[in-house]
Subunit: 138 residues, 2 copies
DNA sequence: TTATATTGCGCAATGA
DNA sequence: CTCATTGCGCAATATA
């Protein structure tokens, strides 16, 4: 997890497709404000290169591509997750329904058992006692 | 599929309320290139306003706030969704387990019934012929 | 070290 | 008009 210092960001503008006016912009090279480079060589590290530099533009373009790709991927993932939620919700309902059914079935069977048990306990022979109340013994 | 029009670069401005020594950058106002404004009023629509304008800076700052807020919200929502997935997955497992249990119980009861039916059909009196099944309550 | 992937941030267009 | 969203580029980091 990273965090970039808030003191080092600068915004950008862009050109919107659909806007008439062409964004004609300036080259603009100095960025940070002319900070000092670390006590090192004057290679090209830590150095604010020209915005016109071929190197720079190339890297920027590549990064922009990468960013786009990354964000697309991110969005896709989010969507997948959302889809997964719906899927799971459906499954959930299905399972709940099944449970309801099974519970009902079980209930019925148990009732039958109980009834039977009562009949036996009451010394009643298996004749016909489906849904009637307890038989009036005596 | 490459994009070539990457000639769209522009300077930026920066104004951190709270950050001392802000890298004051170029104002950059002439964006239209000196072209004429569309045949309309001289309002401020379609017009690139001055980056130094108080109005402008104020609006920018507000928008930046809004953007930050919106993105934060978005991220949170995504996280919530992810959490929801896990929650649903757990629930699903729970339900599946319950179904398994109920199914088993039902199976047992049904077996008992079948056996009993056989006994009756075979003219066997209800005494003791099945296994000593017990059921787990729940 | 270099190249790509992520992430925070500002800008501007657009939606509400 | 104000605020919310969204696409995009930049730069700092994080990974490879």
């Amino acid at each position: 997890m990273n965090h970039s210092p808030s003191t080092t960001s600068e915004g950008m503008s862009d050109a919107r497709p659909g806007s008439p006016a062409a964004p004609q912009l300036v080259p603009l090279n100095p960025v940070g404000g002319g900070k000092a480079v670390p006590p090192s060589k004057s290679s090209k590290k830590g150095q604010r290169m020209d915005r016109s530099s071929e190197e720079y533009r190339l890297r920027r373009e590549r990064n922009n591509m990468a960013v786009k790709k990354s964000r697309l991927k991110s969005k896709q993932k989010a969507q997948d997750t959302l889809q997964r939620v719906n899927q799971l919700k459906e499954e959930n309902e299905r399972l709940e329904a099944k449970i309801k059914l099974l519970t009902k079935e079980l209930s019925v069977l148990k009732d039958l058992f109980l009834e039977h048990a009562h009949n036996l306990a009451d010394n009643v022979h298996p004749e016909a006692s489906t849904s009637g109340q307890e038989n009036a013994g005596q």
